[in-house]
Amino acid sequence: MKKKTSSKERTHNASNAHVSDFKTKTKSAYEAKNGLNQEVIHQISEQKNEPQWMRDMRFRSYQIFIEKPLPRWGGDLSALDFDSLSYYVRPQGQRETAWEDVPKEIKETFEKLGVPEAERKFLAGTGAQFDSEVIYHSLAESLEKKGVIFMATDEALQKHPVLFKKYFGTIIPPEDNKFAALNTAVWSGGTFLYIPKGVHVDLPLQAYFRINRENMGQFERTLIIAEEGSSVHYVEGCTAPTYTTNSLHSAVVEIIVKEGARVQYTTVQNWSNNVYNLVTKRAVAYKNAEMMWLDCNLGSKLTMKYPAIYLRGEGARGEIQSLALSGNGQHQDAGAKVIHCAPNTHSTIMARSISKNGGRSSYRGLVRVLRGAVGSTSRVVCHALLLDGKSISDTYPLTDVREQKSSIAHEASVTKISDDQLFYLSSRGLSEDEAASAIVNGFASPIVKKLPMEYGLELNRLLAMQISERKK
């Protein structure tokens, strides 16, 4: 039986803005000079002692990155200065499997965030990334014995080269978009997760990403392969301290869900408000497979992220739950994409967004049903809540149906907190802030309740805190 956490105890804390807003004073083992050029890429590959094919891929991707223009849609990228960023910072120490061996300052960072505590209480394994490298990784022994591989992506490249090369870049090639090309050129860290056939990982596996340095670019690369009949729930959290200058987080996540397998990928993103969060996430689900993205975006200056699922096998199912909170100076441009490629595939997209203090939340989605995807169904529901007259909500849902024997439905609404609801709760003795907080938590609850309990509690706490600041 799991130990209950008290309200005062801090669990894994992916989501508490005040707790995570601190800087760690630590010396790095290596720091690349600011700016991106072939020399930086060469140094990254040298530091990691990579095989030639990876090095070649990095250089090829760099060329693609230079040639592709910035997207003209979505958020404002005009202030993003690629030359001001550092693309690789290796923290002191090496990758450890025991917390006591992690360098003191870095260990204290993650202890403040509740990561080791969370691992002890309710996780099957944990990875912790500090700036460009994974500094800690562990996996329950029972899972290792079953053949589960859960390690830093860099390590997987060395230890499982055949498996790695078979899947790396196959779902999101560098040509996909400018930021996929950038990530492929300078990727470092991230998670490699392989679940063998028929293995079920009952407790979540977690990775925590921390940007510490100023003007930092973090480019983790995650690759998850779930073999037939397996299942896993992977959770990631991200935070950074607030600086006056900008940082960039541009990750790529590729997931392969084979026949009959199930993968849930949960993200609780709470980057500080100086971080550009530009991420490409895509999964492919085969016959009778299930893929779920649970995507919570609370922080960052600008997030552009559209988790996608390609339903390639008959009977495959996809679900995307998206929660976005955007406050003063923030733009959450998030959404979902589902492509129905095979018969009898089903998808659900539920997106909820909350905008306050002049924040902007945009839902950008695509549901495409290709010819031959007979019997496919999809339902998209988007709801937006505006907490004041300064905030903005956008909805851009594209539905493209080329198969007659399918059924696709979409609905969306934009509302504010109703005066009647506020009056009702206030008349029951709640203050206006408490009432607003209760209403917002109720609005977000269909998505929050799909999180593991401990994460849900944290998220509710953070929402309450953010809402109480809505007039500031």
Binding site: V369, R371, A384, L386, L387, D388, G389, S391, I392, S393, D394, T395, Y396, P397, L398, T399, D400, V401, R402, E403, Q404, K405, S406, S407, I408, A409, H410, E411, A412, S413, V414, T415, K416
Partner: protein, 192 residues
């Protein structure tokens, strides 16, 4: 085409489209005056290789403005509808109400519907929603009618009429309602 609707003016636009066109057309509606209203009801009956590419933008600029856009498409053969809608409620358009919907029925394997209803809301004092759906004729409803002795083609015709009529009956102007129904009845040849 740009249409500017002034204070206290109500403007209704209804259209029944059988023949497609090649280049994208743009309809831009600006609700400039307080309590201005815009109602739009489009019925599209596509056949052969007709395509219907169009944009509709409804921009709420004034308080208490109301808009309602309903589009229904039934597509046969290789016909295609490619519609992009944008409803934008600007900062000053407080207490506005807007709804936008596009529902399409695909009657053949080669028909295509691309539906893109976008919303941009810049004020919190608004009631806005939109909806879109693409599906084939409901098999249960078809079976029900056929089991009552109605031939398949006639049953399909009844269901298509009912599909369109859900929104035709909401047009406030009764004369306009009758015109739309008459157009629909006259297009029976498509079902032959």
């Amino acid at each position: 085409m740009d249409i500017y609707i002034q204070k206290n003016v109500s403007f209704t636009l209804a259209g029944f489209f059988l023949k497609g066109w090649n280049s994208r057309t743009h309809l831009n509606i600006f609700l400039e005056g307080e309590y201005s209203r815009f109602n739009c009801s489009f019925c599209i009956l596509g056949s052969k290789k007709n395509i219907f590419p169009f944009d509709i933008s409804v921009i709420h600029r004034a308080p208490h403005s109301v808009s309602s856009v309903v589009i229904r498409s039934v597509l046969f053969d290789e016909s295609k509808v490619d519609s992009r809608g944008l409803v934008r409620v600007e900062k000053d358009a407080i207490d506005s109400t807007t709804s936008f919907s596009h529902h399409a029925l695909l009657f053949s394997e080669k028909s295509t519907a691309i539906v893109f209803p976008a919303l941009e809301i810049l004020t919190d004092s608004v009631a806005a929603h939109h909806a879109a759906s693409v599906a084939q004729l409901d098999a249960d409803s078809l079976w029900y009618l056929m089991s009552r002795g109605i031939p398949r083609k006639n049953a399909e015709l009844l269901l298509v009429q009912g599909f369109f009529d859900q929104d035709i009956q909401k047009i406030e102007n009764h004369s306009l309602q009758e015109i739309m129904r008459k157009k629909l009845r006259a297009s029976h040849a498509i079902y032959a």
